[in-house]
Symmetry: C2
Subunit: 169 residues, 2 copies
């Protein structure tokens, strides 16, 4: 293992404290609320707190942007078919790192950092220009996907300045 910044050791100590009051041992893998949430990985978005969720309530799927990728579809199929969730909430947010990014410039940056050519960075980062429209696009994909069940799908924008969720789909 390479050197850590000390934060890691502190987190393991925090976990030790967490176990002292942990009382969720009766929960099963099936989420109590029947919810699956797809959200951005952003550090300012605490999915549980902003929705008042408790441990055991919901599946939480997160990636850069809160975009519906193939991996999110895989996760949602597992969520619905193996663990019975029956409703989906998509959450993107203001001030997202992917808002209006220059895909080509980021590809160049990654290439320079990795010591490869930009052509070697063969991926799309998922940048978008209209936040509400992006949420509606993700919701539409979920509502129409052939392998997902026909369940309610909601689309929300989280405002990182106020903590408020705004419904856009």
């Amino acid at each position: 293992m390479t050197d850590s910044n000390g934060e890691y050791a502190r987190l393991l100590a925090e976990n030790e404290r967490y176990t002292e009051t942990f009382d969720r041992s009766a929960l099963t893998a099936a989420p109590l609320s029947g919810l699956a949430i797809v959200a951005c990985m952003d550090a300012r978005l605490d999915v549980g707190e902003t929705l008042g969720l408790r441990t055991g309530d919901a599946h939480v799927i997160r990636n850069a942007g809160g975009l519906v990728t193939d991996d999110v579809i895989r996760s949602l199929i597992v969520s619905q078919q193996l663990l019975g969730t029956s409703e989906i909430i998509v959450i993107q947010h203001t001030g997202c790192g992917l808002h209006d990014i220059d895909e080509a410039a980021l590809r160049e940056q990654v290439a320079a950092s990795a010591g490869v050519t930009a052509e070697d960075v063969a991926l799309e980062f998922g940048g978008f220009s209209d936040l509400a429209e992006s949420v509606r696009t993700q919701v539409a994909i979920l509502r129409e996907h052939q392998l997902l069940r026909r369940v309610p799908v909601h689309g929300l924008v989280f405002d990182v300045r106020t903590g408020r969720l705004h419904e856009v789909a």
Copy 2:
């Protein structure tokens, strides 16, 4: 929108309460701790609580299993290159829905549910048979990936019965 089960309305009311005490408006998109966490979507794993993280501390990337997929690599590149994270923690857990699944049977189930043939379900769900070994595999991918920075990568197993994190890589 199709019918919801009432839980959704309750969550929006919870968010209204959340905004009343929300005081994170000074945070930027860059995680304060420099951490990116890759974890399973499981409802029993509260990533923030089990590590004592606060809002703004870390990127949280989650999918079925806590597996390092192409989408996780995309998210980590964005996390490292655009938002400066410099350490990764992978968390899988006991009692995972993907532990020892029968991929072919799940494919049949999804096909029957969707009204298509099993051949139309062209995806791998990511089942695994050895939990600690799976975590070590994800960590190894991250430590060696050409497009990721050489940062500390830790691998943990979360015990859903005790809330305890066990270091396995």
